[in-house]
Amino acid sequence: MAKEAANNLVETSDYIGHHLVNLTFGWCEKTSSWGFAHHQQDLSKSLDSACDVSEMGFWAFHMDTIFMSVFLGVLVFGFFGLINRSAKKGTPGKLQNFVEFVHEFIGSAVSSGYHGTSKIVAPLAFASCLWILSWNLMDLLPVEMANFFGQAGSGINYFKILPTADLNAPLALAAVVMVLVTYFSINTHGLGGFLKELFIVPLGPLEFISFVSKHVALALRLYGNLFAGEMIFILIAIMFGQFFMSFSQTLWFLPGLIMNLAWALFHILIVALQAYIFMMLTIAYLNLASTKH
């Protein structure tokens, strides 16, 4: 009995661990070659590296994150570009109406939050909001799906479909925002004014810490919310999965089903809200950076 419980525990932690590992392509020191982390894929023997994920250094790419984010980006921006291209004069169609609704929504958010003259803010808000939203929506797909396909023969054993749950992606967005905020600040206050604001006025070096942490927090807020959501889906899935392990656990089926549904419904809110918050904060930071005070 005790042994079974221990086995279960190992399996559970393995399961969670498996779901938290990205498909990583990186530089392996041991063999001095590029390749996928050990045992992550069965597609190609020559691409299988001797290193585990933890043994790869900074020079590694999360292929699933990159693939999913670029794929979703092409999908979303392609959709908008295509609809715009086919936009006819006269009465707009349903898709055209949707595109214009999004445009109006983001346009009004920008015009009410940003009072400067720069033409980059609206496109930046649009791109970040929709890209993040498309990422976050991946969280509503069943957590098992990617692995299911992997085991069904695609040859990829590790695949995280949620780019937001990989800190690299939100951090990249926040970095772009930070660069723009810096640029706007220098534009408004001059280099001297910006440095003075960053290191001297009014709280000394604390201002610099606040400047950096505000942008890191922008990324962490998004990452944390979605990572936690994903984590809860995984835990619910484990509870759910007990059903298949032993007859005595059958009772978990119904609560699992209800909880999964409830969390998915609630998560729709978080999915949209986090994309919206990221966009609004971006607008607010850029507005703050371009106002004289």
Binding site: N22, H62, E100, P123, S128, L173
Partner: protein, 156 residues
């Protein structure tokens, strides 16, 4: 937290998507909306313009109808008064005619009366002369006494 080179890939991807949005998607959306706004504006203007024209046409037509009505009524009035005038004229003429005829008849009557009187006087004078001559048994020189008789007749 495993931050690695994925960060740079995402950074580049984001920059590209922002650039695409900035360069193509956002302006084209804005221009489509702007075009639609203009179109709607023009449509509304055309609608109000045609409404105004309709109003004008209505006004014009009612004006024309009013003018025609008043013209017709003046014509009718004129015709009425003309008819009255004609009747009056005819009446006047008739009265005049009647008067004239009456006068002619009266003068005719007067003339005939006078003539009859004259004839009677003459005949009376002849008769008087004849009677007197018979009484006097003497031929009276008719011509000599003529003057006297005539004088008498005149005095009658």
């Amino acid at each position: 937290m495993n931050i690695n080179a994925t960060f740079f890939a995402e950074l580049i991807a984001f920059c590209i998507f922002v650039f695409i949005t900035y360069r193509y998607i956002w302006p084209s959306m804005a221009s489509v909306l702007e075009e639609r706004r203009k179109e709607i504006d023009e449509g509304l203007q055309a609608a109000s313009e045609s409404k105004r024209q309709l109003e004008e046409a209505k006004e014009e037509s009612s004006r024309v109808i009013d003018a025609a009505k008043s013209e017709a009524s003046t014509l009718i009035n004129q015709a009425g008064s003309r008819a009255d005038q004609l009747i009056d004229e005819a009446k006047d003429q008739a009265t005049e005619e009647v008067k004239k005829i009456k006068e002619t008849a009266e003068s005719d009557i007067a003339q005939s009366t006078n003539r009859a009187k004259e004839t009677l006087k003459e005949e009376l004078s002849v008769l008087v002369v004849a009677g007197a001559s018979k009484i006097l048994n003497k031929e009276i020189d008719e011509s000599a006494n003529k003057e006297i008789v005539d004088q008498l007749i005149k005095e009658l």
